[in-house]
Symmetry: C2
Subunit: 230 residues, 2 copies
DNA sequence: GACACTGCTGCCATAAACTGTCAGCAGGAA
DNA sequence: TTCCTGCTGACAGTTTATGGCAGCAGTGTC
């Protein structure tokens, strides 16, 4: 009775592992089920909102994302999720902000009526809205951090001097109105901070930088006078 | 094939409606199912993490909370949820903050390995951590706002003058290090702001204040020079 | 254009599951 | 005690899921 939903999650997992299109036959084999049932499973997942695309002659691909299984949240946890999403929608860079708004809408859509007002509840985030638009793709920066990739920055500093640098990004700091990349700068052979809104242009090097980002973070922390949280 | 999971959600909904314990017989009647099956359904829900408590001779009660059905999130939406939860865990009042951390942990637990590092990913929230502990229960304040209940405040202002007031709270503002209750003050017959960390003592009046909180919010906005977001 | 490969749907017999009825045990309340 | 209730096991009937088959349509290759 729970076997089916588990199998569907396993199918999603399998689908996520492959980057290239996978044929139904392969998926059926991996989930240990007949081809006919696999087609039904795919249909079930799609009905539940999974973004699986199938093309005749090609196979199936899953658009990047993840299906959260049914989960129980306490009232406060839900409140935290809602408040957090609203903060992201308000304070993060535009692209992530709209993702936050989307996530919030998805959650609100399934909330019972008496809980839905939590979403548009009277919570205000104070301070003027940031106006400096990022030219750089902050999502790409975050991805570069996760994958420990070298960033090639075309950067203008406070004095307006423009420079090109190769840096090893290991953290992204959210200040009230700006976001700061913490990185090791190959040019200066030292830690340097870069405001995302001052990045003129940017490219991600496909090579991995030679250190672990957690080690860099730890080392960087040691250089700071006032400890920074999280 | 979808009937069962729908019935389980309906059962949760039903259970949520009642505040007092409900007997299995009643629940079976409302969901249109036999008592035996109801027991099986309850067991299923509990296995999925629902906090349902049953006691012989009493009935069932559902601890306040909500079960999110399976949902599909894009990579960015997930990132927004994670970042938002981390912000809450860092910036909100202690109780909500720990709820944020719990929610984050729940999500992290079901994330596939290659996405899990998103959670402890290098994101820093900058600014020193707030040290002023709230004496007041901010969760209760938020609840009072939602339910439009009168708050009786024992409050000390900037000059250290202590006063007692009855106020109609309609919004909670998150500043960088403090939280502010926006309310209509019965004493002053005007809008007033109260820092949560300056509340000495507090009680919630069970009577509803005579206006709608959205109307108060709208009116309050009109009195502000600089528009405040959200 | 022919062919191989694949997604997708309908049909149907079989296998698996869910469900209801019945019975019995255990714990709390009056 | 007696009643009410939660909880579990067993079993038959019902529903649902599954697998195999056939067929259609779209894609890429030769």
């Amino acid at each position: 009775m729970v076997a089916r939903s588990e199998r569907l999650l396993a199918l999603l997992q399998t689908l996520r592992r492959y980057r290239r299109p996978v044929t139904g036959t392969v998926l059926a084999g991996e989930t240990g089920v007949s081809l006919r049932t696999l087609y039904r499973d795919i249909a079930s997942l799609q009905a539940q909102g999974a973004m699986i695309e199938g093309e005749a002659g090609i196979g199936y691909v899953l658009k990047p994302g993840f299906m959260l299984p049914p989960m129980m949240f306490s009232e406060e946890e839900l409140e935290a999720l809602v408040l957090g999403s609203r903060w992201v929608a308000r304070a993060a860079e535009p692209r992530l902000a709209s993702a936050g708004a989307d996530a919030l809408a998805k959650i609100a859509a399934v909330l019972p009526p008496d809980m839905r007002d939590m979403v548009d509840s009277a919570t205000l985030f104070v301070g003027r809205k940031r106006q400096d638009e990022d030219k750089a793709d902050v999502s790409a920066i975050r991805k570069a951090i996760r994958l420990e990739r070298i960033l090639e920055l075309h950067y203008g500093d406070e004095q307006g001097r423009v420079s090109r640098r190769r840096v090893w990004p290991f953290a992204l700091g959210y200040f009230e109105h700006v976001r700061i990349i913490m990185a090791w700068c190959e040019l200066r052979q030292d830690f340097r901070h870069f405001r995302t809104d001052r990045i003129i242009d940017m490219a991600i090097d496909e090579t991995r930088y030679p250190r672990r980002r957690t080690a860099l973070l730890k080392e960087w922390r040691a250089t700071q006078d006032t400890p920074i949280e999280q």
